[in-house]
Symmetry: C2
Subunit: 418 residues, 2 copies
């Protein structure tokens, strides 16, 4: 449509950033007047964090508190602090965040950090720090995974991230290109971004509804290096797009989002699966992941790069070796069709079907929050301090849905919905 | 000493910043290995905050958590949020800080913000926000005022602050001059800053010990616009320089510090006192303060500029109209002899004798922490949500000490110790 194209082309970067902040606050977060907002952001995402702050106050926020983090300070710890000290996390701060959520605050995270920040650091320190933070943040994270509050994650381009996505470009050009890719993937390049999000959200709900009608007991994956039967949790629910949090506010928790997702049964995965994209975890790139499952448990894990970090990750706790999420994304999603490897889970997981090791989302189990912990686990819910997505989809992946009676129905062929 | 001068002159800015960070961590804070550090800093003080982070880890910090604040985000609230929302503060964050202190964390604040940041904002909003933050921060502040933990405040030069101190200079030159003034006032310009601090600290302890021997019941101030008799609290203690916190760690809570200070009796001030320097409070400059006390209470308050903010301040609560601190500083202190008006309490209070409205420091009462609240108040301790210092010293101020039997003894003449 000409009008759209004209509008898009004539918008300045500042105007796009402002529209993006509006989408983050009004679509992603669904912030309500009088609501408090807790934001986390790296220093290099400050321009977007400031715009979001402004839009949040315009939307009626009572207070926006932004916890800014600085890569240089993080690296100073790795350079100078003792290994043992990495078992220590700021529990007082994470408990504070949990208290904020419990008292009604919304939560926005800006992603976009340097995907290689910690790649040269001692994996033992990285693992200890991650475990300590995961434990300290658990009470707060539970309020997120239970969807007690409205929350969202958006991304901002940063020089280091841009360099990893566009390695051949000059720094300024790479940064500008990454911003354009983020705006496009986040659907802020059209005439009416908020309307575009409403339509897209409705589509995702339609896909999820169809899968929920089918009530498959398992999914069967076939592709290069992948031959996996993945059982779904009893009373699993497929979700996609936005949803209403328990505080009554509708939010879209990931901007962008292209996935419909559900809960695997923690004890029902068998076979081999190979990652189709690299995973950036705690500042290290893990490439060429291949794992083998037996009765839901990872019994073998390999990576062509970052093997040690992968090993630490699945050794975090017992649940780290089991699955907590399964998600389907068509290979023709706007992010995949950009042809870019973002090396950032928020984007790459929306470019490809994926699975996640670790904690499951209770919202993916019908009436799950009315069950006891024991009942949830008996139906297949996985518990862990971690939740790490990794990409297994490609144009060569076929997926069947397996009904309760054992019939296989084609679901995706060559990475696309059948 | 030639060696000193040579060393000083040949140090680069980065070397001086590093020495300053060492003084902040090892003299100011007295950080101990394994101790956590909670730091607050404005974004424009980032270069110093990073150096301090590095020095803290070198000194064995288990974790440094820095709460960075951004002026643009603060101003966005004043521009877009409703007046009522200013009654709201991030209690979850301040409770978290109190929990950190209670669990053994040290506390460092970097001062140096824009002294005029909020001068154009609605004083009603400024007052509401201040009251809300004061209430929310009270549990944490009490751990500071009771000296439960080791803590310190240092300053960093920022462009806005530098412009207000050196209005005639180009921005870069002003910033460089302010940094030099901070380094000098903070005694990091000599050959061995840590040794210089030990000597200076011993001098302050000597002055305080002499005043404690005298046990004056009141001080009498005479100067231009000032005619005040200020009663001291029963069992008051004079303090100066560093002290050992209840966690057992020795710290120097203000860098720089030139004052010896004690606790006034909240109901025993009578007469008129005139400020000799402007007070920057919550981003507004208050100039030409003159107040009249009757039986310890401010019954009249005037200012030639910022009158409304002053009025809000003393209306915060009942204790805001009574005194919580009295401090003596010779007019020849290094900060005063710089001839600069820093418009920053950390510096200006160390350039001149001063008094503070609001909360008293319990450490300024002998065995005060063993008394009940009622007993403390009966001896003259003032309680309030605020503690705001303002400068009354000058080269024209004379101060007498009045003994229990009513004899007046000259203490300071023309702003100098007798």
């Amino acid at each position: 449509m000409t009008t759209t194209a004209t509008l898009t082309d004539t918008r300045t970067f500042e105007e796009k950033l402002d529209l993006f902040a509006q989408v983050a606050v009004n679509v992603g977060l669904g912030l309500k007047p009088g609501q408090e907002l807790v934001m986390t952001a790296g220093l290099e995402t400050l321009p977007l964090a400031r715009r979001i702050t402004e839009q949040a106050y315009k939307a009626g926020a009572s207070l926006v508190t932004t916890l800014l983090t600085d890569d240089a300070m993080t690296l100073a710890r790795y350079e100078h602090a003792s290994t043992e000290s990495f078992d220590y996390a700021a529990k007082w701060l994470y408990d504070g965040m949990a208290a904020a959520y419990a008292s009604g605050a919304a939560r926005l995270a800006i992603a976009g950090g340097n995907p290689e920040l910690l790649s040269k650091q001692d994996p033992d320190k990285v693992g200890r720090a991650n475990r300590a933070v995961s434990q300290a943040y658990r009470p707060a994270l539970e309020l997120i995974t239970r969807h007690a509050i409205n929350w969202t994650i958006v991304a901002a381009a940063t020089p280091a991230w841009a360099a990893s996505v566009f390695p051949g470009e000059a720094p300024d050009a790479a940064l500008a290109k990454l911003w354009e890719a983020i705006f496009k993937a986040s659907r802020v390049d059209g005439a009416d971004p908020v309307k575009a999000w409403k339509e897209h959200d409705a589509n995702l709900h339609t896909h999820a509804a169809r899968l929920n009608e089918k009530r498959y007991s398992a999914l069967r994956y076939r592709g290069p290096g992948t031959n996996l039967e993945l059982g779904l949790a009893d009373d699993h629910l497929w979700l996609g797009g936005g949803g209403t949090a328990k505080n009554g506010y509708y939010c879209v928790p990931n901007i962008p989002t292209e996935e419909v997702f559900s809960m695997p049964h923690k004890d029902r995965a068998d076979g081999v699966v190979t990652a189709t994209k690299p995973l950036s975890h705690l500042g290290t790139m893990i490439e060429g992941i291949q794992v083998r499952f037996e009765k839901g448990r990872i019994v073998e894990a390999k990576a062509t790069r970052g093997q040690e970090v992968l090993q630490k990750l699945i050794d975090t706790d017992a649940g780290a070796r089991h699955l907590g999420e399964v998600a389907l994304v068509p290979h023709s999603s706007p992010i995949a069709s950009s042809g870019l490897i973002f090396s950032n889970t928020l984007f790459d997981e929306n470019a490809a079907s994926h699975i996640a090791m670790g904690q499951a989302y209770i919202s993916c189990m019908k009436d799950g929050d009315k069950l006891t912990d024991e009942e949830q686990v008996a139906k297949g819910l996985n518990q862990s301090l971690i939740h790490v997505d990794w990409m297994i989809g490609s144009s060569e992946l076929d997926i069947d849905g397996v009904t309760a009676t054992g019939t296989a129905e084609p679901l995706m062929r060559g990475g696309e919905w059948v």
